[in-house]
Amino acid sequence: MTRHHLEIRIIPRPGLLDPEGKAIHHALDSLGYESVRNVRVGKAIYVDLEAPSSEEAIAEAEAMCRGLLANPVTEDFEIGMASPAAEPGETS
């Protein structure tokens, strides 16, 4: 068993309104960042888990996304390995 650091990204489905992204885009515009074309906001969930291999870790994360983390009606998800910056200890 090794510890795997996964980064799960939950992304609002294309076509759905993303009011938060819209508000941020608007704010960036008025701050003078006029080169911005699009903003969408999702979640980044960092999960540390024990698994025999990274394949198995990812498979488990996929199951978690389907069962709990992502709302299949409104969100897509993506799973990757996390960078070290996002590696804290244990959730208490």
Binding site: E20, A23, I24, A27, S30, V41
Partner: protein, 232 residues
């Protein structure tokens, strides 16, 4: 005494604050966030609500608004600034108060009456209260969990900057009476100079018996008395 009530897109307690100020004899005035002039006002109130929908972080987008530059200048010149709920969040985002308001540890919007104890009755916004007095007021927020690092918290405590703290109805520290997980049960703080106050509970909703409490009146009467010691 002219008190500016700043309306941001999404503010929704501006009208309530306006009424509360009027009820204690102040002269409230709505200022739209893009009408960036605060020249002749005596105090500024940033009311509660969901400026910019609370998108990104509560208060994060509002503090970019043109009026906030004026508010910063006004505060730097010693002008009194009161931020309630979303107003408190904006003040922290703008750096006028230390720390940050993060998501309630209950992960829920919390709407109910709470009790707060007056920790410092010698401020612009609390002089009409007694030291240690317990006040009943509503809260209504999703991001009211006050956070600052230990060092900042210590200096807030030692500098008398903690003005209101959640407590039980008898005014004692009460396990289970902190509604949102705030560090050291902090409900309201002032800046070092003493002219800027931020608080999560809504004093403007506790100004008439018919609303269930008049414990919020003191915040407004204190401010008015400070502005014109002869009156009030």
């Amino acid at each position: 005494m002219r008190l500016a009530v700043v309306t941001f897109p999404g503010s929704n307690c501006d009208y309530d604050v306006y009424q509360a100020i009027k009820s204690v004899g102040g002269v409230p005035e709505f200022i739209w966030h893009r009408d960036a002039a605060l020249d002749s006002v005596d105090a500024v109130v940033l009311p509660g609500g969901f400026s910019y929908g609370d998108y990104l972080r509560a208060g994060a987008i509002a503090r970019m608004s043109p009026i906030m530059e004026q508010v910063v200048t006004f505060a730097a010149g010693g002008g009194p600034v009161l931020g309630i709920c979303n107003g408190f969040q904006i003040l922290c985002e703008a750096g006028l108060l230390p720390g940050a308001l993060t998501r309630n540890d209950t992960l829920k919007f919390e709407s109910k009456d709470v009790w707060v104890r007056v920790e410092n009755a010698d401020t612009t916004f609390s002089r009409d209260y007694g030291q240690g007095q317990a006040l009943r007021m509503p809260i209504a927020h999703a991001e009211g969990n006050y956070y600052a690092d230990e060092e900042t918290l210590d200096s807030l405590e030692s500098g008398g900057q903690v003005v209101f703290r959640y407590c039980d109805p008898s005014g004692h520290d009460g396990e289970g009476w902190n509604p949102n997980g705030s560090a050291r049960s902090i409900a309201g703080i002032r800046n070092e100079a003493g002219n800027v106050l931020g608080m999560m509970p809504h004093p403007e909703r506790a100004v008439e018996e018919v609303l269930g409490s008049v414990d919020g009146l003191g915040v407004f009467t204190s401010l008015l008395r400070q502005l014109s010691p002869a009156a009030a």
